[in-house]
Symmetry: C2
Subunit: 354 residues, 2 copies
Amino acid sequence: MDVKTTIYDIAKESGVSVTTVSRVLNNNPLVSDNTRRKVLDVVDKHQYTPNSIARAMTSKQTKTIGVILPDISNPYFSALFLEIERFTLEQQYSVILYNTLYGGSSHGVQSPFGEIRYLEMMRENCVDGVIVTGGQLDLSETPAEYVAALNNLARIMPVVVIGQHIAGCECLFLHRNLSGGVPALVMHLATLGHHRIGFIGGERGIRQTISRQRAYRQTMESLGLAIHPEDVVMSNFYTQDGYEAMSKLFENDSLPQAVIAINDNVAIGAIRAINDQGMRVPENIAIASCDMFAGSEFCTPRLTTLDQQNGYLGQLAIRMLMSAISDVGEGIRVKHTPQLVIRESCGAKLKDNH
Amino acid sequence: MDVKTTIYDIAKESGVSVTTVSRVLNNNPLVSDNTRRKVLDVVDKHQYTPNSIARAMTSKQTKTIGVILPDISNPYFSALFLEIERFTLEQQYSVILYNTLYGGSSHGVQSPFGEIRYLEMMRENCVDGVIVTGGQLDLSETPAEYVAALNNLARIMPVVVIGQHIAGCECLFLHRNLSGGVPALVMHLATLGHHRIGFIGGERGIRQTISRQRAYRQTMESLGLAIHPEDVVMSNFYTQDGYEAMSKLFENDSLPQAVIAINDNVAIGAIRAINDQGMRVPENIAIASCDMFAGSEFCTPRLTTLDQQNGYLGQLAIRMLMSAISDVGEGIRVKHTPQLVIRESCGAKLKDNH
DNA sequence: TTGTATGCGTTATCAT
DNA sequence: ATGATAACGCATACAA
């Protein structure tokens, strides 16, 4: 391996001091055009780029942010991440990504560490700021040690949490509208004539689950529709979990007319389970989902779902972080409103295709 | 923001020299148990962790690797990445991820830079090694400037390329078996009585596309089956592309009995298009795919596909890189063999579900 | 306009 | 067993 050329090599070969080279590199105007050109020639010749490590030593900035999330193979998180990364790059920052795999992944891959360890690693890596989402943050009762670890980190650098506010947590919060759109979804189903509506997916004790279920229950009640307790089955957030939850429903004596899934993956698994019973969606059972993932407009049937604007959320988070890194600012106040996307899986707009 | 405590703070408070603290931190045996304990107490009290930047200054190692890929929201790449990250973490390394978004993404997100820029950024960030896959690497004619940029980087640090070997490229290559399994797939279809078989998806000029199409053509020929030129439609690698490619097929005078898709996403899009025509899979047209993604066993119909062992591939890549970083080793020789996964979308194993 | 000297936090070399 | 000091590559305060 070649050794990287340093600012000293450039200085010597250009016949100037390191200071001058440094000035040229940082576009400091206090350099004559002549020397500037001379230096840049040598820089180009060696394809020299400053060592960002050494730079970080003096500047106290690594120009790197950290992102901690459970599972990048989950479409919800990858949509978020892609937007975060794009903005990060535009600001000349890089991003270190940690997948905690908390709550499991669809690949069976195991994480070697617990979530708290990832927070520590951020500190060790001297990133300039951190965005963290999912995992224990989404527990209705976030463990005290985890909050303590978050606060520990937040004392050193800006930390943006995408999720609901946690008492005693000193981070910046980007509040997610967890239940928004669910009432619209329930009403849409009711309007289509589905009066017995179930709810599947999501883990017990997770905020998304709780919040969306609550909205579902309240809307049902306000519409005067009864909820059959056996129509509500929790599991997790992946396709497999949708399959299992729906299969549970089939073990009951009777079925709901419509089922709301916690997200598109769960909905897809549910549809598979329904098909396995020789029934069809939406003819026999309608399916709707609370979180739209890329590609769900190509399912059969196309999924009626809620656009949670996940990419937009990522954009807000990174803007919040960047402003916290540069300014003294305490972040920005924002709002996002989940939008109902009506497609085929509930019976509206269904093409006659046979 | 609090300022991070340094080794000096610890030294002063412990009443020893920084050298001794450093020894304690690095488990150097040349410290008496007494001082060690004394120092560790202070370390614990302040929750001190060494500044990895300063450490990198002297050690010339950042304990960070870089991964460059087109789009982490693509299941193929996320499966790869998750395995890379797991092994990386086990080795106490972190990973910086760059999505080049070369070839487009499913989210419409645009990358601010060209691929070569990402290679430069790796150098600037002083990572210890790089894994790069996808993008221009997969062009049948990789541009000379891109190869030059790769070589530039490879002169400074180990670079592992997941893909086919490129003439004149000095990186370490993890050869992918691109066409393996395709003959088995074609034969499977032929055995089921499908004699007119089409092929859709994949971009023109991309190695995967070329390689798999060639295997498809050769196998067809060896089986004495004719290929109708209009049954082959290229597009890209996403669901939408599968939809469009299949729609093209419907514009022809007649249809193939079976269609091979370049991957599961394309297959899903194709199935959607077929359903939109009032036809069913596999009853009217059989669909098979060349690259299995997580969750495709929950499609309706379940996809018959090839397991490319993408996660395993990632594992091999990171092992190769790690051995190149530590040893003088020139990497490891490995083999992976895509496996045929027979499910429902071709008509075998189809449950009667209506 | 240019250069010298110092510091950033750690590890390593060399004393003691 | 412990400590003083140089070195890593860069930015910057201060001189010239």
